[in-house]
Symmetry: C6
Subunit: 70 residues, 6 copies
């Protein structure tokens, strides 16, 4: 993550998703385990919603850093 600045809101969303994923990778450092775990949350709506909550918070930070791309 070299910078919070992105060209567009859409790229800001992608960065938010990437940041959320990197947080999980920082705790569960084994990529093989993460790959296996992926199925657990991709089919569990409660966890999908919780993931969306994280993305929404990360995006708040990114949007502010970019002055809302105004």
């Amino acid at each position: 993550m070299p910078s919070l600045i992105t060209a567009t809101p859409q790229e800001g969303r992608e960065l938010a998703i990437k940041m959320a994923r990197k947080s999980i990778a920082a705790i569960q450092t084994d990529p093989e385990v993460r790959k296996k775990l992926r199925n657990d949350y991709a089919n569990d709506t409660a966890q999908l919603i919780a993931s969306a909550n994280v993305i929404a918070i990360e995006f708040q930070t990114i949007a502010k850093a970019n002055n809302y791309w105004k």
Copy 2:
């Protein structure tokens, strides 16, 4: 998502809901699976409330981007 700017607060709410949905679609990329999962959370109040939490966070960002439509 071309922009965070909307004409009205109501359109801002709709964008917040759309953003929350797109987050879930970014993690569970199979539209058929998402369709099947939909029933899981639309009838589970805990998940409906968790979804409303995500929408509230996304809306904070949108409302600020629009200077609260003042």
Copy 3:
């Protein structure tokens, strides 16, 4: 929701509750189902607390839009 501006903090609270409810109605669109589900969360303290969390976030946005009614 025509506007985030309210006359008083109390009306701001009411708007926050209304916004949280509308989010749920946007996902579970059948009013009969919502009516049935209502009992699920009105008697479950964990869900009541989760609802209060959503209201608190929505109120943050409304309070800021109203410059804290100062």
Copy 4:
């Protein structure tokens, strides 16, 4: 809730707790039911922590409204 302005941070905390309680009372309107439910969450640490989360969010709003009592 006539105002978000309080004399001290401590009174701000008390208002935050009151606001969280009023949210729950707005959803579960029967005081007898609320009284019975009280035992459910006062002895369940997960729910006590979730309640503290709501209070923390409400306090953010109150603290900002009071310019952090500076």
Copy 5:
């Protein structure tokens, strides 16, 4: 809690933890019960993480009140 102002970020963290604890004490007022309950969450990672969430929110407020100790 006489003030949100602290000398250092570290003291700000300590205040955030104290505020989270006081919220719980405001709901579960019996110190003996709280002592017994303590074991429930200190050994449950989900509840430890939920506690860290509350601390993070309280710290946001404190950090802003202190202008990030700049």
Copy 6:
């Protein structure tokens, strides 16, 4: 934690993770117990997502303290 100021966004992420971990250590003070508990959440996607939520909130504070590294 001597300061919220970091040289880069990446170092800000690392500080956010460290702050989240320190919160947990403040509640569960026994390092041996924490080590044993670590396996509980590193293999539970719901808890990994909840951890990412905490990191996102801590990072909001750090990013603002650093004026988004602009």
